[in-house]
């Protein structure tokens, strides 16, 4: 099985055989989580970072009165909490959305990478910068767009992110996210989520078959979502030493 992180990182330039082996070695300890199971609890201080190898996961915060805000959806190849290597205490949590296989990458191994593999260090750093860029893009849709544009923007983003790891074909991909989860991510009620998705379907922009989402009109969906993939920096080349 190809390694989703290696595939994703190689979009920025090829890795040496040694670098690829290091990534395989540090991600060899894996755990499987059931849907909705916590991968990294809020407030915990993990000794490893969680790299999603298969399945979908969320990052979330809870308000003091118990309301959940989903702040990210993670897909294979995403290091959900690479930041816990340096930030130590998790102010947010990571949970499985579907069954997830997760590599538990020891912080001591990450430290070795920063000591001995400068290019790997930079390309992993790049992934955390893209995570932050995704947060800024979400913040913009949350603050400045209506529900319809926001959800269209997200469906475009998922298409491109899943494409980089080979999980998108012919504008179609698995989207195992419920109305409730979309609502908790984008600050709208489930009734509103359903209304928006049904409108997008009625207008011929998307169709769904079970958990499979098909984008029928990619151009128009991008227009509705005011979407441009620039913030994902998918094919941006990184300089080697």
């Amino acid at each position: 099985m190809s390694h989703p992180l290696i595939g994703r990182l190689e979009r920025h330039g090829s890795l040496s055989g040694e670098e690829k082996q290091v990534l395989r070695d540090i991600s060899s300890r894996t755990a499987v989580y059931r849907p909705r199971e916590e991968i990294v609890p809020e407030g915990s201080t993990p000794a490893h970072s969680s790299l999603i190898l298969s399945g979908f996961a969320t990052r979330h915060n809870h308000s003091l009165d118990g309301k959940r805000q989903i702040t990210a959806f993670h897909v294979p190849g995403d290091f959900a909490d690479l930041h816990s290597f340096l930030l130590k205490k998790m102010e947010d949590g990571v949970a499985a959305l579907t069954e997830c296989t997760v590599a538990q990458v020891a912080h001591s191994d990450l430290k070795e990478i920063t000591k001995n593999y400068p290019y790997l260090t930079r390309v992993l750093w790049h992934t955390t910068l893209v995570d932050a860029a995704v947060h800024r893009a979400w913040m913009t849709t949350l603050g400045r767009m209506e529900a319809r544009e926001r959800l269209a923007h997200f469906l475009c983003e998922m298409r491109d992110r899943l494409d980089t790891i080979g999980l998108m074909q012919d504008n179609s991909y698995e989207l195992p996210i419920t109305q409730e989860e979309l609502g908790d991510a984008f600050g709208i009620s489930t009734v509103h989520v359903n209304r928006v998705l049904q409108d997008l379907r009625a207008e011929g922009l998307i169709t769904s078959r079970g958990k499979t989402l098909v984008i029928n009109d990619w151009e128009r969906l991008q227009q509705v979502g005011q979407y441009s993939s620039d913030y994902l920096h998918i094919d941006q080349k990184l300089e080697r030493d």
């Binding site: 529900a147 009734v191 359903n194």
Partner: protein, 98 residues
């Protein structure tokens, strides 16, 4: 937990909820539907739209059995709701809290 489906009735058209939501009982599903409607109406009102005045949420169970119809205007603050109910003959009050 039972699953409730919250379809939207708009004139003769039904905007289906294919997924539904799990709630302990119909009362909780009704409260959730009213909250959801407020969120929907807030955006419509921001855009100056009133094309939802006679729309309603139709709650069904997993077998598709209709359990409750809640007019959208019931999600408005009480005095607005009563005033609109008086001038919209096609809209009928939903049965009180089950």
């Amino acid at each position: 937990m039972p699953r409730f489906y919250r379809h939207i009735r708009q004139g003769g058209r039904l905007i289906e909820d294919p997924e539904g939501i799990e709630r302990p009982d119909l009362g909780a599903a009704r409260a959730e539907a009213l909250d959801g409607t407020r969120d929907l109406l807030a955006e419509a009102i921001r855009h100056g739209r009133d094309d939802w005045l006679t729309d309603a949420i139709v709650i069904t169970d997993e077998a598709g059995q209709e359990l409750l119809t809640i007019p959208f205007i019931e999600a408005l603050p009480p005095r607005l709701y009563e005033a609109l109910l008086a001038v919209l003959p096609s809209v009928t009050r939903s049965p009180s809290e089950p």
